[in-house]
């Protein structure tokens, strides 16, 4: 569990290394969600028909990695309240995916802690393919649990996702 007092702006909150994502990983995802678009598993279609460098790692997969990143950064007592991200670059089969979260800000409102995180996905060359921000909710030391389901109260509107970088 993330400890509220140890979350300082500018510090790394969490990192997930997914390792090298191969065509097999991409195919497993495509099958799990029944997405049969050929740019994700048919090399000839992806490269010759769609002129892509290789089959693509699904954006739909990458979004779950970002949500997992925030969820794991907060721990089981936290709640991923909001996330916004933009896809900036393609990731292709063979790329290694790392997810990183950095603390941007934190506020205490109505007895709960709100932490704003910058979240990014990078490849083996350190290039950012996906980037955005998230807001997580945490219990304060000695404070009440985070309500579940989480329905924001009007006072929570004081915490907003930052504008895109």
């Amino acid at each position: 569990m993330a400890r509220w007092n140890e979350l300082a702006p500018g510090t790394r909150a969490h990192t997930i290394d997914k390792g090298r994502i191969t065509t097999a990983h991409i195919m497993r995802w495509s099958a799990a969600v029944e997405n049969w678009h050929r740019i994700h598993y048919d090399y000839r279609f992806a490269t010759e028909h769609d002129k892509l460098p290789d089959v693509l790692i699904n954006g739909s997969w990458k979004q779950h990695v970002l949500v997992q990143l925030v969820k794991d950064a907060l721990g089981p007592e936290g709640w991923v309240w909001k996330i916004r991200f933009r896809y900036k670059k393609m990731d292709v089969a063979g790329d290694s995916i790392r997810a990183s979260a950095e603390v941007v800000d934190k506020q205490e409102i109505d007895g709960l802690g709100f932490v704003t995180l910058r979240v990014v996905l990078t490849n083996q060359n350190g290039e950012v393919s996906t980037a955005g921000f998230a807001i997580g909710v945490l219990p304060l030391p000695g404070g009440p649990k985070v309500p579940y389901p989480f329905e924001a109260r009007p006072a929570h509107a004081a915490v907003q996702l930052p504008a895109d970088d």
Binding site: W36, K71, P76, R84, F85, R86
Partner: protein
């Protein structure tokens, strides 16, 4: 604004604010479906697979990852097979017209063929639990014809509210799609 292809921005105005039909997942969330899903996203959180562990959490039972509901709507038995198109057209992309991105909205008709995912903004309320069905209600929050460096493109923001059948909110997803 006239795009190079001759299409006019006004031709998309009627989509803005339009809502679609309510989608109800055919099947409730099953544990094996969830197992395959979390293995595919490579998340080993016991909350998603271990009923004993989950019982001791605030969730009380196994639940899906927060963003799972966007994938809860699968092809219906007896419905169109997205791979049928490959028999008639070997260059078909296999997407079945990307029906899955519309969540019950009438698909946008345009000359653009290539679809890119621009990004998302999501608010989460709770997780879908095993045994629950997801429900989706979508609307076109925005539709804009833009001129980019490489030509015209259509920027579409679809706002989809996912709930349980009882109407409890799971998440609201604002997804930006780009057609070129």
């Amino acid at each position: 604004m006239d795009a190079p292809s001759g299409i006019k921005a006004e031709s998309f105005d009627h989509y803005r604010g339009a809502t679609g039909r309510t989608l109800v997942a055919d099947l409730p969330l099953e544990r094996d479906t969830l197992r395959r899903f979390v293995q595919a996203i490579m998340d080993t959180d016991p909350l998603y697979v271990d009923a004993v562990y989950a019982k001791g959490t605030r969730y009380g039972d196994v639940v899906a990852p927060p963003l799972y509901p966007v994938h809860a709507f699968r092809p219906r038995i007896g419905g169109a097979d997205p791979l049928d198109a490959l028999h008639a057209d070997p260059d078909a992309d296999g997407s079945g017209g990307n029906e899955g991105v519309f969540f019950g909205l009438a698909p946008i008709e345009s000359p653009f063929k290539r679809l890119l995912n621009g990004g998302n903004e999501i608010e989460f309320f709770r997780c879908l639990a095993v045994g629950e069905k997801a429900v989706a209600n979508a609307r076109y929050a925005d539709v804009q014809l833009k001129q980019g460096k490489s030509g015209a493109m259509l920027l579409v923001t679809i706002e989809t509210t996912f709930t349980t059948e009882a109407g409890e909110r799971l998440l609201v997803n604002r997804q930006t799609l780009i057609w070129r």
